[in-house]
């Protein structure tokens, strides 16, 4: 950690949510399913938590605990991505977890906005739509992930065909999105560009790009549900 002396409120936020780091690290380790050094995940997660504590903006309406959850999760997944010699299956799962966090983060301000979707049946509809969006985003990331070492777990021809069908659906449905939505989806999910780089290129904030991405995925998921 750097020699920065943090303000008391930063340190207070950090210490208040320190337990979150091990919980998230354990969940990610369980989901990825590999023998990963847990202490390394926790260390990376704590760096993410400190970063969150420093950057937190309460005016956005998202509680610190939620904001920190995304930052810790992102830090741990970034750290995992740097590991070499993981099998392809592990990279797929990391990509799916990243997509989940990305779609959720783009929805966070709406979910925590005062009075928004707090009526239970409206929240039920919002939950259904959000789950569909996450499922689609995670599936697309899994279908397009090509990092990692091949193994006997890799696809047979039928599995490859299934992935190709999903990619074909998403590419075909891009026409139904706005130009900026289509560009964000195409560049992130098919070209593998980081959202912050796309945002900078399009002269928008990362949080705005995150909302654009989530809105686009929601629309694609709705389209997919209509075909099912």
């Amino acid at each position: 950690m750097s020699g920065i002396i943090d303000a008391p409120d930063v340190l207070e936020r950090f210490h208040a949510e320190l337990a979150l780091v091990e919980i998230i690290a354990a969940q990610i380790a369980r989901s990825v399913g590999r023998a990963i050094e847990f202490d390394d995940l926790v260390g990376t997660g704590r760096e993410g938590l400190l970063d969150a504590a420093r950057r937190f903006d309460p005016t956005r309406g998202v509680p610190f605990r939620a904001y920190a959850n995304f930052r810790v999760r992102g830090a741990i997944l970034d750290g995992l991505r740097q590991l070499s010699a993981l099998p392809r299956r592990a990279y797929e799962r990391i990509a799916a977890l990243e997509a989940t966090a990305l779609v959720s983060e783009g929805e966070a301000e709406r979910a925590f906005a005062r009075g928004a979707a707090t009526e239970p049946s409206a929240a039920d509809r919002a939950l259904a739509e959000h789950l569909s969006a996450i499922a689609l985003a995670a599936a697309v990331e899994m279908a397009t992930e090509d990092r990692g070492e091949a193994s006997d777990e890799d696809d047979n021809p039928e599995d490859s065909l299934a992935r190709a069908e999903l990619i074909h659906f998403v590419r075909g449905a891009l026409d139904e999105l706005s130009n900026v939505e289509a560009e964000v989806v195409s560049r992130h999910y098919f070209d593998g560009e980081r959202l912050e780089d796309i945002a900078r290129d399009l002269d928008m904030s990362k949080s705005w790009a995150s909302r654009v991405q989530t809105r686009a995925v929601n629309r694609l998921a709705k389209r997919l549900r209509s075909l099912a």
Partner: protein, 91 residues
């Protein structure tokens, strides 16, 4: 299996309406379904359109991952809290 029936009911409900309470939500509020059953069915419904578009083993992993996320993802757990009145969060 109850989950299969719920999936069929949910699919029917979704295709008939976008504004009325869903069939799953109705079952939850009537007490015909507990929160765990409701969440399992919501995940099944989210994953169903991906059948045939992703290998079966990936879909099984995705289902389990989403189920875990309902408890740990801040937005999902907030939506669950708003819909069910409970607090499923472990984080």
């Amino acid at each position: 299996m109850v989950h299969g029936k719920l999936q069929a009911v949910a699919s029917t409900a979704e295709s008939k309406t976008t504004a009325a309470p869903s069939a799953l939500f109705d079952r939850l509020t009537r007490g015909d379904l507990d929160v765990d059953g409701y969440l399992d069915a919501r995940v099944d419904e989210a994953v169903a359109p991906l059948a045939g578009k992703l290998p079966a083993e990936r879909i099984a992993w995705l289902r389990q991952m989403l189920r875990d996320q309902l408890l740990s993802d801040p937005v999902l757990s907030e939506r669950v809290r708003q819909a069910t009145g409970g607090d499923p969060r472990s984080t």
